[in-house]
């Protein structure tokens, strides 16, 4: 039988996926076809939805984002019938995230969480500490920036992150709010929690960064723009996903070996380290003609061995806690160990609870944030508006 799987696009991700599926195919004698899908998550989602809405058999296994299970649940198979409890070995938060109405619609495959990149050399040069809180980050960034600018690099900035009005900003802002103990916009019961003083404080702080330690154009940065600035040596700090690590460490990188990675700062002394949970899951389509084989492939791909291989070869964060203590893994990616907590306790976006409204929630959230950042609205005003908007969205239940 031929199983069609959508995993990754091309490049290293696809290659890893192909190797994994090939191994399974060799074991079982089935055939696996890998289809590539767009890089952009929204494009990928709409493509999936076209296929699923048409009840297409064309794809058996979908690689889905951590925020999608709520939206796609009704098209997906309950995997718990096939996994015989294997999901228990994974991060609990992820499994919960993937369980919709008691059905395990997807298996965690790899995870992601926002981390802070910093320039070891510069911190040393200006005698600064690796920041523990956002405030420290702000202060040290100012110092280093002033120094570097004086030294002639007038394009040097303190902190770059993802400020464009898109999902990435939701992730960033959620980190600020959550690290200030400001909740996750909508709590697990479906109540709108965003309009609280901590959240206001977090946004107010962030909005001071613009034109101070962050260029105004950060308001239009996605991951790559930020990495571009950072990797060309023009920024002290960067908030990004772990993927940037291997690139920053690549041979032709000007910042090679000058980069450190830590968990994102806390929001004040009482705050917590918070990294928004990202990552991808594998799910089986309800319309698949080969559900059994597909589920088996999912089980195989999410297994300990396969995740270990991917962690070593591609620095993909495993979803099985045990792997963060595996020696082989740690030699390949040293910071996995240090950041285990960050990955384990990644802050989930309120996607499960808001279900198919998540898109609107996230949109409302990043738009409100963007307004605050760009100075069009005061945090208070923006959050009031956001709260009203979300309450209206959720007025009949999510």
């Amino acid at each position: 039988k031929t199983i069609t799987i959508s995993c990754g696009a091309v490049g290293a991700e696809k290659q890893l996926c192909e190797e994994g599926t090939q191994a399974w195919a060799d074991q079982t004698g089935h055939e696996v076809k890998v289809v590539s899908t767009p890089n952009s998550a929204t494009e990928r989602l709409s493509l999936y939805q076209q296929l699923l809405a048409a009840q297409s058999e064309d794809v058996d296994i979908f690689q889905i984002d951590v925020v999608w299970p709520g939206m796609l649940a009704q098209h997906l198979v309950d995997l718990s019938e096939y996994t015989s409890g294997a999901e228990d070995a994974h991060f609990e938060s992820l499994v919960q995230n993937n369980t919709v109405d008691g059905r395990l619609v997807a298996m965690p495959w790899f995870t992601d969480a926002g981390v802070l990149y910093y320039r070891k050399d510069l911190l040393e040069k200006y005698d600064q500490q690796v920041p523990e809180t956002w405030q420290q980050l702000t202060d040290s960034a100012r110092v280093v920036m002033a120094g570097e600018r004086e030294a002639g690099n007038d394009r040097f900035w303190g902190f770059v992150w993802q400020g464009r009005a898109y999902e990435g900003l939701t992730c960033n802002a959620l980190e600020w709010v959550a690290s200030h103990n400001g909740g996750t916009v909508v709590d697990a019961e479906g109540n709108v929690t965003i309009n609280n003083p901590q959240a206001r404080e977090a946004l107010a702080l962030a909005s001071t960064w613009i034109d101070d330690i962050s260029p105004r154009s950060v308001l239009n940065y996605t991951e790559e723009e930020a990495r571009g600035v950072f990797q060309s040596g023009n920024a002290l700090y960067m908030r990004n996903w772990p993927y940037a690590w291997s690139l920053a460490q690549s041979d032709d990188s000007p910042v090679k070996d000058k980069v450190g990675v830590v968990a994102l700062p806390r929001g004040g002394e009482q705050g917590t380290h918070a990294g928004t949970l990202g990552g991808w899951q594998l799910a089986v389509s309800r319309y698949s003609a080969n559900k059994d084989e597909a589920a088996d492939l999912v089980r195989f791909l999410t297994s300990y061995e396969e995740q270990k291989r991917r962690a070593i070869q591609g620095s993909y964060n495993p979803t099985i806690p045990g792997l963060y203590e595996d020696e082989e893994v740690l030699t390949a990616v040293p910071f996995f160990g240090e950041l285990f907590e960050t990955f384990k306790n990644g802050v989930p976006r309120p996607s499960s609870v808001t279900g198919e409204s998540y898109g609107r929630v996230s949109n409302a959230f990043f738009n409100a944030t963007h307004q605050v950042l760009s100075g069009e609205a005061e945090p208070e005003q923006a959050l009031n508006g956001l709260e009203r908007q979300l309450q209206r969205l959720g007025r009949r239940g999510w």
């Binding site: 490049g11 290293a12 289809v35 767009p38 991951e223 600035v229 060309s232």
Partner: protein, 280 residues
């Protein structure tokens, strides 16, 4: 005499400057893409004006990916077929709309235009259903079929406009010579419509060549995909990394055939085709 010479030189210089300006305006970003396509890794983040070293690794990696070459082939097939269909239906329709006066002509024109008034995303789902119903999913035919939704109105309108401008007497002469509408169209009008046909053809070809949303949605496997999708699906080592070098190399690769195509067909865009036909 001297002033005249000066004036001539000034005019010539002015023209050259204008030309240079136009070329700079249109080609510079592409040139920059070429420059970028020879870079790799962190070089990308440096601003450079010239190609410092010819590093073909991006090209090799793009071409080395077998499915990319295949997608070029798919694109060629799809675009050519689209243009041929658009031309075939467009020309005949343009003859009817441009040369025959009948009631409902403007209504037909409006309806044809109306088709291109919905945003692509809005028709996407419906079209997807049609294509699945016709069992064309993941088949280049689906693209050829769906592309007519934007190429056809365009060709019909443009060709109608140009067809209308041809002298009435020519058609009358053909009628007196006993030519049927078909013959008139093919033997008399089409040869005179080359500038319009080459232009619309090129524009439609490129539009089909570059179409992304339909191509992404209506094909699934790499061996059926077209160039823009293939380019969009070029990614780097991970989810967020954009492989700039590869992307630019791929863009350069797929633009070259188009440039050649334009070079070939622009010869058809010549003036004075109807010169000498009628007096007065």
């Amino acid at each position: 005499m001297n002033r005249k010479l000066l004036k001539k030189i000034a005019a010539k210089t002015g023209f050259t400057v204008l030309l240079a300006g136009i070329l700079l305006f249109t080609v510079f970003p592409f040139y920059y893409a070429i420059v970028t396509s020879f870079k790799s890794g962190s070089e990308l983040f440096d601003v450079t004006w010239w190609v410092s070293s010819f590093n073909f690794s991006n090209y090799l990696s793009v071409i080395g990916d077998g499915s990319f070459v295949g997608s070029i082939w798919n694109s060629v097939l799809v675009s050519f077929a689209t243009v041929i269909i658009a031309m075939a239906f467009g020309l005949t329709a343009a003859y009817a709309l441009g040369r025959v006066q009948f009631r409902g002509r403007s209504a037909v024109l409006m309806i044809v235009l109306g088709v291109s008034m919905f945003p692509q995303v809005a028709v996407l789902s419906g079209l997807f259903e049609v294509i699945r119903a016709l069992d064309l999913y993941n088949n280049p035919l689906a693209l050829i079929f769906s592309y007519t939704i934007f190429t056809l109105p365009f060709t019909v309108w443009i060709l109608t406009t140009f067809m209308r401008q041809l002298p009435k007497e020519l058609e009358e002469a053909a009628i007196v010579d006993g030519a049927s509408p078909m013959t008139t169209l093919f033997k008399v009008f089409i040869p005179l419509m080359w500038p319009a046909m080459a232009t619309t053809g090129l524009l439609a070809f490129i539009a089909a060549w570059n179409e992304f949303l339909f191509a992404l949605t209506f094909t699934l496997t790499d061996d059926q995909r077209t160039v823009p999708v293939a380019i969009a699906l070029l990614t780097g080592g991970s989810q967020y990394e954009l492989p700039w070098g590869n992307l630019m190399a791929a863009s350069v690769i797929v633009t070259v055939p188009l440039v050649l195509l334009v070079l070939i067909f622009q010869r058809r865009i010549v003036s004075g085709l109807t010169a000498g036909a009628v007096k007065g």
